[in-house]
Amino acid sequence: MNVIAARNIKLFFRDRRNVVMSFMSVFIIFGLYILFLGDTLKSGLSDMPGVGFILDSWVMAGILAVTSVTATLGALGIMVEDRTQNILKDFKAAPIKRYDLVGGYLLSAFTIGLLLSLVTFVLAEIYIVLQGGEWLPFAAWIKVIGLILLSVLSSSSIVFFITSLLNSRNSFSTAGTIIGTLIGFLTGIYIPIGSLPEPVQWMIKLFPVSHAGALIRSVMVEQPMQASFTGASTEMVQQFKLEMGVAFQYGSTISSTALSIGVLLGTTVLFYLLSIMVVSKKAR
């Protein structure tokens, strides 16, 4: 398992295209944000002090959630390549256990997703500070890293399930394009969830990756909000959080940290089970 994972990681990083493709959605979101989305958002909240710091932290948190999906997708591209180029034939004709092989792909996808997310996190923090924000406190770093771990785990399970259904390079790149285009909307990054119509809000609330976004946001915007919302009522704070997708409202209940963590863990289990079903069906 480890040898295959190490091989996949080497293959991923030696082909620059993989790395670039994995960051493509992130580049696009970031580009749109600094070009005009950021300004639009800021003008809507112009009366708030320290709005830049809040919004920068908010968008970076969303980008981290997206990275966990696009990076694992890029990493699992190697699995699709192996299948389409028949390299899998060479594996199957050797006395290697199927779970070693599948485990190898998953381990490499997880490792690559984690590495790229951590790099993104560091770059995001540098950007925030350069824009006049502050570094996250040490405890928050640890929290965010923990949440990145969790979100990569859950995203890799979803992405693994999707790729296990794909049989050609074409379908893989189509899936990549669709995911890359939609992910920014589905996690409520381009436009805050509060500004969207009700049905779209529900799509975001039901999409597991949004919960990773909400969790990371709640940690990253905590510090800037303390500064901006001093003296504000809890209602106002809550309203802002719901508006920006830091927490989600389902009817009269508001999602908690525990609920979002539960959603991510549940997704992980569900999609791994589904993937195992697909993969073992294919083995026959």
Partner: protein
């Protein structure tokens, strides 16, 4: 005589298409076995089944003493495969590739090192060990493929068109390596090829088409049975020769003034030449080739 591969009634269908319709054959240990047939004959399907990559619909087979479907891991440990297409990773060096693939065979680190070193030497890849596989020439890739197939010292080596697409010199080099493996290491070679001069060097040939075996035998047996020798005569007086052949009711065809007379054996040409001596300006005797065997049995050329 030890049968290292035994196949009985092996079948495989893909939907409506019966790719392999119940075939029987065996391969002797240490021999070179050529598996021939036009494209789409069912060769690759048969090889995929014997190498445990495709589950048969029916029939039995054993490879290296292991039963197909029951002891697949045993089979996998005792076979090496050189696939038609490249199966190594383009972005890894030859050495990295060999270590990755070698790790599939449950060797200790030390054993693996020794195994890779041996494969490197036999397949003669030491000159480009640290170069990425994707940057190698066709011939170098093929040798790297062979090295990969040899890591675990298999007792049977499957080669699916190992020399297709290589330049003549590289082809010869690869072929020499294959011969050495058989002669010096006693490895059983199971190969498919499009080149008749390669098939002719095999110990035993099996010809397949439309999912069935058409003929089995040594190259010379097959030639005796399915190819005819040919006498080509250029006469001074065509009418006189035609008269002579018709009188003896010898079948013949004429192609551009050359009379083609099929013979059972080359030696049968002698009395004929003796009797027509005065009427001949040119002679050629062509003995039957494997190409003819192939053509006669499948009705298509080798390159079809």
């Amino acid at each position: 005589m030890n049968k290292i591969i035994e196949v009985n009634g092996l079948r495989k269908s893909f939907g409506e298409l019966e790719a392999v319709k119940g075939i029987d054959f065996y391969v002797e240990q240490g021999s070179m076995f050529a598996f021939l047939g036009p494209n789409g004959a069912g060769k690759s399907t048969t090889i995929d089944m014997l190498t445990t990559q495709l589950e048969p619909d029916g029939g039995e087979a054993s490879v290296g003493g292991y039963r197909l479907g029951k002891e697949d891991d045993g089979i996998r440990s005792s076979i090496g495969i050189v696939f038609q297409d490249s199966m190594l990773d383009r972005f890894l060096t030859v050495k990295e590739n060999l270590f990755v693939r070698g790790s599939f065979y449950k060797l200790t680190r030390k054993e693996l090192k020794a195994a890779v070193a041996r494969a490197v030497e036999v397949a003669d890849v030491s000159g480009f060990l640290d170069r990425p596989y994707g940057k190698l020439s066709g011939g170098q890739r093929r040798r790297a493929d062979i090295a990969r197939a040899l890591i675990h010292a298999p007792s049977v080596l499957f080669l699916d068109e190992p020399t297709t697409g290589l330049d003549p010199q590289t082809r010869k080099h690869v072929w020499t390596t294959i011969r050495q493996l058989q002669k010096e290491q006693g490895m059983t070679i199971f190969l498919t090829t499009h080149y008749m001069e390669e098939a002719a060097q095999a110990d035993y040939i099996t010809l397949m088409d439309h999912g069935q075996l058409l003929a089995k035998g040594t190259p010379s047996e097959l030639k005796d049975r399915y190819a005819t020798d040919l006498l080509k005569l250029i006469p001074t007086s065509p009418t006189e020769l035609a008269q002579y052949l018709n009188d003896r009711s010898l079948p013949h065809t004429v192609q551009g003034g050359i009379y083609l007379i099929p013979l059972k054996r080359t030696i049968d040409a002698l009395p004929l030449i003796e009797e027509c001596k005065g009427n001949i300006t040119g002679i050629e005797i062509v003995s039957g080739s494997l190409d003819d065997v192939f053509l006669n049995l499948t009705g298509t050329g080798m390159r079809a």
